[in-house]
């Protein structure tokens, strides 16, 4: 029975490893392509001559550094907005009993189920009427709002897991609920806040479709949209250059994810299990 189990385990592990290789292959492939000489990418998978020229070119010519800067601004800005707003709301929902609480809960749930696609084009039309197009404000607000349902979902779970006695203790010491929030609860839920912030940051950083529609002014574009443009603007096969751009865009997400995986997973799972 035990050797059978061992063999089964071995088999499963082998299968999983193969599966993971298949999953990760495209990512590795794009990295390999980015180091290839121009037009050499399709003759061999592994570069014969490794070169950094595409990365150098990306950051010395043209708008790519600007695009990266824009991405940083939008991603961080949006994440800050959504994390802070959802923290406040989640605290209220987890701790307080008030009229309309059920309504709020359903509302947030409902918003979670509205695909972003539906609202982007009206947002575009409204923003253009308000002359908000092509500003940093617009996309930060939109990203901020998009992240709120998920943020509330995750943070409510975190807040709920903190025993009430802590609040009570603070109140006995004479603190207002808000003070209790900032000084006692919040520090403890830092993992939850970080998780929410990171998830939102990565989601915003990678967001492609929404900024494609809402930001059309060339030098306000995000890196993801810029990449899409590159494909059209670049004449001739410049896939290696595009690959370098892809890798640059991928790096923050990959690094954040590998080192902070626990935060990510915890956030998602807490929300999934308790939401």
């Amino acid at each position: 029975m035990d050797s059978q189990n061992k063999a089964l385990n071995l088999f499963i592990n082998a299968f999983m490893i193969a599966f993971c290789i298949i999953i990760i292959f495209p990512v590795i492939y794009s990295m390999l392509v980015s180091f290839q000489e121009p037009r050499m990418a399709f003759y061999s998978i592994i570069p014969e001559r490794w070169t950094f020229q595409h990365y150098i070119r990306l950051f010395s010519h043209g708008l790519f550094p600007r695009y990266i800067l824009n991405s940083i601004i939008y991603a961080i800005g949006g994440a800050i907005v959504s994390t802070s707003l959802s923290a406040l709301a989640a605290y209220a929902l987890a701790r307080f009993q008030f009229r309309g609480k059920g309504l709020v809960n359903s509302f947030v749930l409902g918003m979670m189920m509205l695909p972003g696609l539906i609202s982007v084009i009206p947002i575009y039309k409204l923003a253009s009427d308000l002359k908000l197009l092509d500003t940093y404000t617009l996309l930060i607000i939109v990203f901020g709002a998009y992240g709120i349902p998920l943020g509330i979902w995750i943070l409510k779970a975190f807040f709920s897991s903190i025993p009430q006695v802590l609040d009570e203790a603070a109140f006995i010491d004479g603190a207002t609920p808000l003070q209790a929030f900032f000084k006692v609860i919040l520090p403890i839920t830092t993992p939850g806040l970080i998780a929410t912030f990171l998830i939102n940051f990565v989601y915003n950083w990678n967001n492609f479709f929404t900024p494609l529609i809402l930001v059309t002014r060339t030098n306000m574009k995000m890196a993801t949209v810029g990449l899409f443009d590159f494909q059209h603007v670049l004449e001739g096969n410049q896939d290696e250059l595009l690959a370098a751009a892809c890798v640059v865009i991928m790096i923050p997400s990959i690094l954040l994810f590998i080192f902070l995986r626990d935060y990510f997973m915890r956030g998602m799972i807490e929300g999934a299990v308790k939401g």
């Binding site: 950051f59 961080i76 802070s84 253009s128 009427d129 908000l132 500003t135 919040l186």
Partner: protein, 463 residues
């Protein structure tokens, strides 16, 4: 605690900004003897949360010479990435802009907008109240759409008094002037052009449907294609590929009011022709499914005997110039569909246009005049391998070559101005998707597909 977190984040953001903005090493291995590349010179945007306020400078118009006045700025949207040193057109544009700035003291605020989205961006900005520059570039076929969107300014009066006006060639005037109004100024004329391999076609390039079928049989045996051309899902594929075929039968894609007539017999026949070529392998598959550069590849590696490019093809097709000068590639006549007597190529003029909300109209006109100076126009047209719109610029020695002789002959004999319509972009784009479907799927009925497209176009735009 929260404040601490915020300030950490802000510090990180600032550091990142500093690092990235410092990260501009001089260009390393560029062959062209140019100084180190600087990022786009004139576009200054502060990463602030506020939209860039419109630049309002003192107007240029002064009666008597005054003391020092600020010459002002010119906001200009152009096609090219001015930091790209491998594109002759970008290099030339940059040189012209620099010279203009030096001569007039006007600061040019340049922004790149790709040629295939320029008209869209401009029209949308006009309609939605967005930011419009003073001056833009545009191909001729998009002008009417932009006029309809209220995006362009009528500059007939300003141009009629310009010193280059009398020198403009008739083609340009015909296209850009109508009803006493003029919305654009053409800089050079370009158009489609068929290049063929003289070794594959020693007797010349076939100009009829039957000719193509015959050559196809011969060449298929050698694993070669009759020709390659871009026929993908883009409006340009229709303008450059389908429209001339329709013209060869004496029909047009739009009527005089710009209403599409996509379900005519001519269009059906054109699509049938393409479908036949696709199914029989006379034209490579990438012509219909690939992108521009994938389409050029078969001609570059000589597996296709001909290529329908344009006057600009030297820029994009590797080795074309060398082969033409060596005599192994020649410029041929376009094919006509059965029942038509002559094949056509489209002809186009590239324009400057002043937007309806331009704030620096004088500077824009000055720029146009500067550009139309033969000393500036000739190299500009040449960098695009186009024919300058001013006769006097044509006398520049840079145009004395077999290439220009043949090009001029081609455009004169085979060229026809592109059609236009208030909804050119939209309808042609939809047409290209339908055409691609019809060519690739032989079990679809061409006529009914076109009829339903035609109906939809009318309902959406013209009803």
């Amino acid at each position: 605690m929260r404040g601490k977190k915020l300030s950490i984040l802000i510090a990180v953001l600032l550091m990142a900004t500093l690092v990235l903005s410092a990260c501009q090493p001089a260009a390393v291995e560029e062959p062209v003897a140019e100084p180190p590349v600087v990022e786009e010179p004139a576009v200054v945007e502060e990463p602030a949360v506020v939209e860039e306020p419109p630049v309002v400078e003192e107007p240029e118009v002064v009666e008597e010479p005054e003391e020092v006045e600020d010459p002002g700025v010119l906001r200009f949207w152009g096609f090219y990435d001015l930091t790209n040193e491998e594109d002759g057109r970008a290099v030339q544009m940059k040189a012209n802009i620099d010279a203009f700035e030096a001569e007039t003291g006007i600061t040019v605020q340049y922004e790149q907008v790709a040629w295939d989205v320029m008209a869209m961006n401009v029209s949308v900005a006009a309609v939605a109240g967005g930011d419009l520059p003073d001056l833009i570039m545009s191909g001729y076929e998009y002008i009417q759409g932009m006029v309809n969107a209220g995006a362009l300014m009528d500059i007939y009066d300003e141009i009629a008094v310009a010193d280059f006006y009398s020198d403009l060639n008739e083609f340009e005037k015909n296209l850009n002037e109508s009803g006493g109004m003029r919305y654009a100024v053409g800089t050079f004329v370009g158009g489609g052009q068929w290049y063929y391999d003289t070794e594959i076609y020693p007797d010349g390039f076939p100009e009829t449907q039957e000719g193509w079928a015959t050559e196809c049989e011969r060449l298929s045996a050698e694993d070669k294609y009759v020709a390659t051309f871009y026929a993908g899902r883009a409006e340009a594929a229709m303008t450059q590929g389908l429209a001339p075929l329709v013209w060869s039968l004496g029909e047009r894609l739009f009527d005089e009011e710009g209403v599409p007539q996509f379900d005519s017999d001519a269009v059906v026949q054109a699509i049938e022709f393409w479908r036949e070529m696709y199914n029989n392998g006379c034209v490579p598959e990438v012509a219909f499914t690939g992108d521009w550069s994938a389409t050029e590849a078969p001609f570059e590696d000589r597996s296709a005997g001909a290529y329908r490019g344009g006057t600009w093809s030297y820029i994009f097709v590797t080795g074309l110039q060398e082969r033409f000068e060596a005599g192994t590639v020649a410029i041929g006549n376009p094919p006509a569909l059965t029942g038509g007597d002559q094949g056509w190529v489209f002809m186009n003029v590239e324009n400057f246009a002043v937007t309806s909300r331009a704030e620096n109209v004088e500077n824009a006109i000055k720029f146009i005049e500067f550009f139309m100076n033969p000393a500036n126009l000739a190299p500009w047209a040449n960098s695009n391998f186009g024919v300058p719109a001013r006769a006097s610029a044509m006398e520049d020695p840079v145009f004395e070559s077999k290439f220009y002789d043949d090009t001029l002959a081609n455009l004169t004999r085979n060229g026809q101005g592109t059609e236009t319509s208030p909804y050119y972009n939209e309808t042609m784009n939809s047409l290209s998707a339908t055409v691609q479907d019809l060519v690739l799927n032989s079990n679809l009925d061409i006529r009914s597909g076109l009829e339903s497209l035609q109906q939809e176009m009318i309902l959406l735009y013209f009803d």
